[in-house]
Amino acid sequence: MTGNARAAHGCYVYGVAPAGAAVPGIGGIMSGEPVRAVVHGDLQAVVSPVELDTFTEERLAEMVADRDRLEAAARAHEAVLSAVIDNGDLVPLRFGTVYRDESAVAELLAASERTLLAALGRVRGAREWGVKVFGDTDALSEAVRASHPDAPQPDAATGQGTAYFQRKRFERTVAGEAEQLGLAAARDSHERLAAAAQAAALSDPQPPELSGRADRMLLNASYLVRRDEEDTFARALAAVRDDHEPRGVSAELTGPWAPHHFADLDLTERVDA
């Protein structure tokens, strides 16, 4: 048992890959110790040793309250996943999964073998790409105003009931139509990108404080794209940008990611027969 020799260490699990896939030469989360593989049958788990007392409730609460430490841990976890999918397939596990030793990880692979193989089959040869679509409210409103040549003049005298309310009403119309124009562009972008992908998933749009951009996020989507179809996907994205950017709707690409959104599976209650 490896557990006896390193009683203070646990085995942090990043994800599950096909057995025999290359393991990236990269340091793992927390301890920085090298990432390694735990093989069972046709599967291998990507793991690295961590000190068990890093994962007590108290220590985790401390970490979550410290943005820098949290970010370092999150990025270390993600860096391992990225390194693995640079060269091969991976079903990613959620952040914070630790087993007491490598034999317990092998038991997991044995107990859920069929489910894990099926999950790997669904993402075979594919990676996840993120696309966030943003709408520039001013540019969208300008596009709407340009389509209303009969717009009330902004310099019309205020205080005169009819002119004031006409103008106010027009501005409400512009705001409403600009929103619809932005959402329609986001829907169109999503439909065209999804058509170039194996699968698509939507997340809640991020508010500006999270996205780091003042423009409103209209779409926060993830696409599962086969490696040999990445060029097709890139061309679809370029076409979407060409069509919508002139009206203030821009698309931002992130990735490649491990297929997080397409391996969203809960195995806590489940053991293969």
Partner: protein, 154 residues
């Protein structure tokens, strides 16, 4: 964001911000019963704490942004205040429309009448980022689409 430390894989790819990473590694992916695992409830609470950390409560307040409060963990007093504010804003909008109608000799009648019908707006909960929640719990993006969905189900 400190994403500049990550080398970008392709020139057309934007660096991932921390929220991009967290929404994936905390909310998505395979869940297994590790020997030592932050349990599912723990992860949800963790996610909310992280959101609060990323968007400080003061900043959210300042922007009138209550998206995180609509989380089931924030259905207390603050959420009720936000709903009440929303109801008052809707009521003010309707009163403004009525005043306009009065001053314009009925010109604005169509507009006031098309506002989702009696009490329609009160049944929508704003989730932020343009998303609205119907009483059924269904989420719809865009105010007008949410109101249309509400009318459909009435």
């Amino acid at each position: 964001m400190t994403s500049d430390q990550l080398p970008t894989q392709r020139p057309t790819t934007a660096p991932a911000n921390l929220a991009d990473v967290l929404e994936r590694i905390l909310d998505k992916g395979l869940v297994v019963a590790g020997d030592i695992r932050i349990d599912l409830m723990g992860i949800e609470l963790l996610t909310i704490k992280i959101r609060l950390l990323l968007v400080s409560a003061d900043k959210a307040e300042e922007l009138g942004m209550a998206w995180w409060r609509n989380d089931p963990y924030f259905t207390g007093e603050e959420a009720e205040i936000e709903r009440e504010n929303q109801r008052l804003r809707e009521r003010l909008a309707r009163l403004e429309a009525l005043v306009g109608e009065h001053e314009n000799g009925g010109e604005a009648r169509d507009e006031a009448g098309s506002n989702g019908g009696q009490g329609g707006a009160q049944q929508l909960t704003q989730l932020g980022g343009g998303w609205w929640q119907l009483p059924s719990g269904e989420r719809v993006q865009g105010r007008e689409r949410a109101e249309a969905a509400l009318r459909e189900r009435a």
